[in-house]
């Protein structure tokens, strides 16, 4: 049996209330009135498709040995790098084996489902024992556009394999058609979208039912057998119309109300949301849409009872905080806000130093002294324990998955920051070791000495001059 062995997800903390955007911008674009219900998820200023993919992957890999992960397929249309493999950054942040195959899947919103199918092929052909399929999306939208209200940010991950399968692979089919509902040309920041009526009637409303029909014919099955049918379509009425057309009572919520459409990640985000409440025996169909469709289907097994649910998407949807519209605009650089002279200095990033210390910077790997057992970060050749101070006794030690306790902290109004005050402090890790870290997703007034924190892979600095995104780990207070 092959299929899904684990899953995870991530929805960023911030929510933009659509009503807030309507209040601010509907004078300019009255179409926004049509979309004023609910809220969309917003990535923090230090999050992008890669960091959210890492978070979703950690959620999926939690408690699992990762030595048998033989491939990482990462999907997005909003990867920070066109050339420098994003899946390789993700694999390093997850401290996966050097032998892992890394592939970026991009170019269409169906990329996430295409990555699942490709991953299943790899497992089926025994070219990989386990494949991590992860999709993350953080797209830019113009202020006051309907896309600004339709889109959301998020990520989801699946581990595919042969053992302990929680959702068995049933089948897949593909359909391609160069249907252009929207596109984003090379080096363009924003999507260019065609008329909505065309997209609804000739796009979602025709192509998705057609693809589902093709699947059912191919496998001699009936859509009524599927407890959940997952297809993206951000237009609420059209989403319901498709359910009627395909005659399914199991159309899964498009999450428009609380998240928004997370692009290439969205079928996966919806799937992991559905898995949180799925019962053994449930059949689930997943449709990716974009220049045609990619369809894949699973059947939930009894093994789902053995995994801890709910996971990151459901949890992330429940954990939220409003973001003011102006702050959102600044986070996405949609307004040309003043920066202090202090923040002007922008030296390039030493790629030699980053390469040499990639385990430390991206994997948050320090050392543990084999002689005295002291975990330590940053890694230095001589043990930091004054009672040891031995040299040449170090082994790698990962801090990324450790929890910690705040020893001291501050909110710094002087430090240049996208979201002042810059909050940072000294964190003592469970199991030993301490270091100075930036804090994120955090309010100064909610922090205290003794607060508990988890580690999160985040953007440390965006070098807009040279197009380089630098990452490191930050402390995120646990919500108690």
């Amino acid at each position: 049996m092959i299929g899904i062995v684990s899953y995870g997800g991530y929805i960023p903390l911030r929510r933009l209330s659509r009503m807030q955007v309507v209040q601010q911008m509907a004078w300019y674009n009255p179409l926004l009135y049509m979309l004023m219900a609910g809220e969309r998820s917003v990535a923090n200023w230090d999050e992008d498709s890669v960091t959210m993919a890492v978070a979703a992957s950690y959620d999926a890999l939690h408690g699992m040995e990762t030595k048998s992960i033989d491939a990482v397929y990462a999907a997005s249309t909003s990867f920070p790098f066109d050339d420098r493999q994003n899946a390789a950054v993700i694999a390093q942040a997850l401290n996966l084996q050097d032998s892992v195959r890394t592939i970026d899947v991009a170019g269409s919103l169906k990329a996430g489902v295409s990555a699942i199918v490709a991953g299943l092929d790899a497992v089926e052909s025994d070219s990989a024992r386990k494949v991590l399929v992860v999709a993350g999306e953080r797209r830019y939208t113009r202020s006051a556009s309907t896309l600004e209200l339709l889109y959301g940010d998020g990520a989801a991950a699946l581990v595919l394999g042969r053992e302990h399968v929680i959702a068995e692979f049933l089948g897949s089919c593909a359909y391609h058609e160069d249907f252009i509902d929207h596109y984003r040309g090379a080096e363009k920041r924003f999507d260019y979208q065609w008329e909505e009526r065309f997209i609804r009637d000739e796009g979602f409303g025709r192509i998705i039912p057609e693809a589902i029909k093709t699947y059912c014919e191919k496998y001699h099955t009936d859509i009524a057998e599927f407890a959940a049918v997952i297809y993206p379509c951000p237009f609420a009425r059209e989403h319901a119309t498709i359910a009627k057309k395909i005659k399914s009572a199991g159309a899964h919520t498009n999450l428009h109300e609380g998240v928004g459409d997370t692009g290439a990640a969205h079928p996966l985000v919806m799937l992991v949301h559905a898995l949180d409440t799925a019962k053994p025996g449930d059949k689930i169909m997943v449709v990716g849409f974009g220049q045609g469709c990619e369809v894949v289907a699973f059947q939930v097994t009894d093994a789902i009872a053995h995994i801890k649910r709910p996971k990151g998407v459901t949890l992330g949807m429940a954990r939220k905080k409003d973001i003011p519209y102006a702050k959102y605009l600044k986070f996405r650089d949609l307004i040309d806000a003043d920066i202090s002279i202090r923040a002007e200095a922008m030296p390039n990033t030493s790629l030699t130093a980053l390469w040499r210390h990639r385990k430390m910077i991206h994997g948050f790997t320090g050392y543990r002294c084999k002689a005295c057992g002291t975990p330590q970060f940053p890694p230095y050749p001589i043990c930091v324990n004054p009672a040891c101070n031995k040299s040449g006794t170090m082994e790698d030690y990962a801090f990324a998955d450790k929890l910690g306790t705040v020893l001291m902290y501050t909110g710094d109004m002087l430090a240049a920051s996208v979201d002042p005050p810059a909050i940072y402090g000294l964190v003592e890790f469970d199991g030993g070791g301490r270091t100075l870290l930036d804090f994120t997703d955090c309010e100064l007034e909610n922090l205290k000495v003794g607060s508990r924190v988890a580690m999160s892979f985040r953007i440390r600095r965006e070098d807009t001059t040279r197009g380089f995104t630098g990452y490191f780990w930050k402390a995120v207070p646990l919500i108690e």
């Binding site: 202090s340 002279i341 202090r342 200095a345 030296p347 990033t349 030493s350 130093a353 980053l354 210390h357 430390m360 910077i361 002291t374 330590q376 970060f377 940053p378 230095y380 930091v384 324990n385 004054p386 020893l407 001291m408 902290y409 501050t410 909110g411 710094d412 109004m413 002087l414 430090a415 240049a416 920051s417 005050p421 810059a422 940072y424 402090g425 000294l426 003592e428 030993g432 070791g433 301490r434 270091t435 100075l436 870290l437 930036d438 100064l444 000495v449 003794g450 440390r460 630098g470 490191f472 780990w473």
Partner: protein, 402 residues
């Protein structure tokens, strides 16, 4: 067997510019201003100086690397001139190098000069220094500032002793009010306006819990010292001269930040440097024997915690000493009688030498309106870096054979 530096080297001349936002003066002008005062004070011919050390920290925005800037500005006659840099302890490092050079017998008369020109950058606070702590650190280290890091010390201190932040904030305010009162009597001070406790407590937040008035001035300035051997001082017919009693530096090895043995409520190196300095100077009880203190009050909380690390106040009791007026100008051990970093200002490379300058003036009875009665021993303290990773210097100077 090492015997320490006590009474081996005399200070025979000192100079210090007015500190402040010296829009009028570049580093060359500042160096010459301090140097001329010291030469005239020592009563020697500039050609008698055999070697010199220049302290400057932010070379990138300042006078550049090497000591060429000082050699050229002072037209030093092709003697050995060396730049030293050790964060905020740089000035004391130049002094230490000069004193050790004389003590070694290599030279008779040498110069220690510190200079910093910080106000040419266009924004408040210290120059951005994310690249200054190494290329690797710049890939991961939080984008820290000095107020941010010392603000953390306040939280750590409260947590350790179970104190309320409002009580510690009040003591911190008392420290700033005291330094402003002292600075108001010092014509060379950057800030010369007295402030009230209320003003300090209501000042805008810079880094929680430090407000604007908890932070020292960022200033331009220069200070220097001319030192020589005891024999040379006597040959120059100097009477009642001031000698160096102790010079200590202590530097973090990474333990505070990366090993779980630091409480976050004090500065390890201050205590270590001070204990070694007391031993070198033969001081048994600093609370009884020291006449005045010039400590590194970059932030009010730093001064508070330093009193405990210097073993002048008991652990957890500095708040009480401060509120009792122990360190006020009329207290038992006046601290920052010249206004301190808080009001005299903090041109980094010059600060250590500025502190020695004030003690030198006090010991010679030349401190004018802020002159203390019969001081004998003074201690200076610099803390460069951050509470969790730093360079500390402690110097003790006093009257010869005191």
């Amino acid at each position: 067997m090492a015997t320490g530096i006590k009474d081996k080297v005399a200070i025979i001349g000192m100079g210090c510019t007015k500190f402040g936002e010296r829009w009028d003066a570049d580093a060359n002008a500042l160096m010459v201003e301090a140097y001329n005062e010291a030469i005239s004070d020592a009563g020697i011919d500039p050609k008698e100086i055999q070697a010199a050390w220049l302290a400057t920290c932010f070379d990138e925005v300042n006078v550049g690397k090497s000591a060429l800037s000082a050699a050229i500005a002072l037209r030093l006659p092709n003697i050995a001139v060396t730049r030293v840099e050790n964060f905020c302890a740089s000035g004391t490092e130049a002094f230490r190098a000069a004193v050790y050079a004389v003590a070694s017998g290599a030279y008779d008369i040498v110069l220690a000069l510190g200079c910093e020109k910080l106000k040419d950058i266009g924004y408040g606070g210290l120059p951005e220094f994310s690249q200054a702590i190494g290329i690797l650190n710049s890939l991961w280290f939080p984008n820290i500032t000095a107020p941010g890091c010392f603000a953390m010390l306040a939280g750590g201190y409260c947590a350790k002793y179970g104190l309320k932040m409002e009580d510690v904030k009040r003591a911190m305010a008392h420290i700033s009010v005291k330094s402003h009162a002292n600075g108001a009597l010092n014509p060379k001070a950057h800030l010369q306006r007295p402030v009230t406790e209320e003003q300090v407590l209501q000042s805008p937040m810079i880094a929680y819990p430090l407000g604007l008035f908890d932070c020292c001035g960022v200033s331009d300035g220069a200070a220097c010292a001319i030192v020589c051997s005891i024999d040379v001082a006597k040959a120059l017919k100097k009477k009642d001269f001031v000698t160096v009693k102790a010079l200590q530096i202590s530097v973090s090895n990474g333990e505070e930040m990366a090993f779980s043995n630091w409480d976050g409520a004090h500065v390890v190196n201050t205590e270590k440097a001070a204990m070694r300095a007391y031993q070198e100077a033969g001081i048994k009880n600093p609370r009884e024997e020291i006449s005045l203190l010039e400590v590194h009050d970059c932030f009010s909380i730093t001064e508070l915690v330093t009193m405990e690390d210097l073993h002048v106040s008991e652990r957890g009791r500095a708040v009480n000493d401060v509120m009792d007026g122990f360190f006020d100008s009329n207290g038992t051990i006046p601290c920052q009688i010249d206004g301190g970093l808080k009001c005299f200002g903090h041109p980094i490379g010059a600060s250590g030498l500025r502190m020695v300058y004030e003690i030198y003036l006090q010991l010679h009875g030349r401190a004018d309106k802020r002159q203390l009665k019969d001081p004998k021993i003074g201690l200076t303290h610099n803390l460069g870096g951050f509470p969790m990773m730093n360079v500390v210097s402690v110097a003790i100077v006093g009257r010869y054979k005191n």
